[in-house]
Symmetry: C2
Subunit: 114 residues, 2 copies
DNA sequence: GGGCATGGTTACCGATTGGATACCTTGGGA
DNA sequence: TCCCAAGGTATCCAATCGGTAACCATGCCC
């Protein structure tokens, strides 16, 4: 499992500019993608999600937990978040959207400009 | 092309309860689905979207137009909205989510309850 | 030329979202 | 014992979202 790249999600990123959202809030989709490759710690998630505030990361994670997408495990001072089976099952549709966005990115930008 | 059923989207429907959204606003995903089978008029769209206000329907349509998903054609007193190629292309991922939601609906309700 | 249907627009308001910032708590390690 | 890192909370505020309700413009039809 590789480390997560800093600022995986650019300032102009699909989840903010593009017309769809996964999860109840703005960040949930990105959080899910960060958990694709295995469990991650809170502080580890803050690296790729460079612009998230601690408040929003906690809120996103709590929502995802409440909806059964993510499980939280605490081991002394270590907290790790991991996708549940339900969480993994939603990666399919989620990736379908990401692929779509990548493919149609230029068309979308063109449409927005005019 | 069949007429659209009144209140196609129940009060508790995936797009409001479930953790994803297609389109910039609450209604956009439902509007797209209403246009799946061909062009529709403004008043025709208000039938399946029983709880939408004229303001929000206009806003959703304008957003979808701006993003290039929908085109608007005016012919005297008739206004019709139709999916563009881009709009049709997003139906795939959109349906992937709807299918996912249908399949995992019970799990989601269970997770929310506890 | 009066009314009616269509396709909106406008004003107002409350609720929700999300950002910034400061603070807190617990458990090690030096 | 003091400090520091991890993993958060708390507070405040601005902007956006979405609902209600009233109103408007255009073009037909009688």
């Amino acid at each position: 499992m590789e480390a997560l790249r800093a600022d995986m999600f650019e300032e102009i990123c699909p989840s903010t500019l593009l017309p769809f959202r996964v999860g109840t809030d703005k960040w949930a989709g990105m959080v899910l993608r960060c958990l694709e490759d295995g469990p991650r710690r809170y502080s580890e998630l803050r690296v790729p999600l460079a612009r998230i505030s601690p408040k929003m990361l906690t809120q996103s994670l709590r929502n995802l937990e409440r909806d059964g997408f993510v499980s939280r495990a605490q081991d002394e001072r270590r907290v790790t978040y991991e996708l549940t089976a339900l969480g993994r099952s939603v990666l399919g549709p989620l990736r379908a959207f990401c692929d779509w966005a990548e493919e149609h990115w230029d068309e979308l930008l063109d449409a927005r400009e005019s």
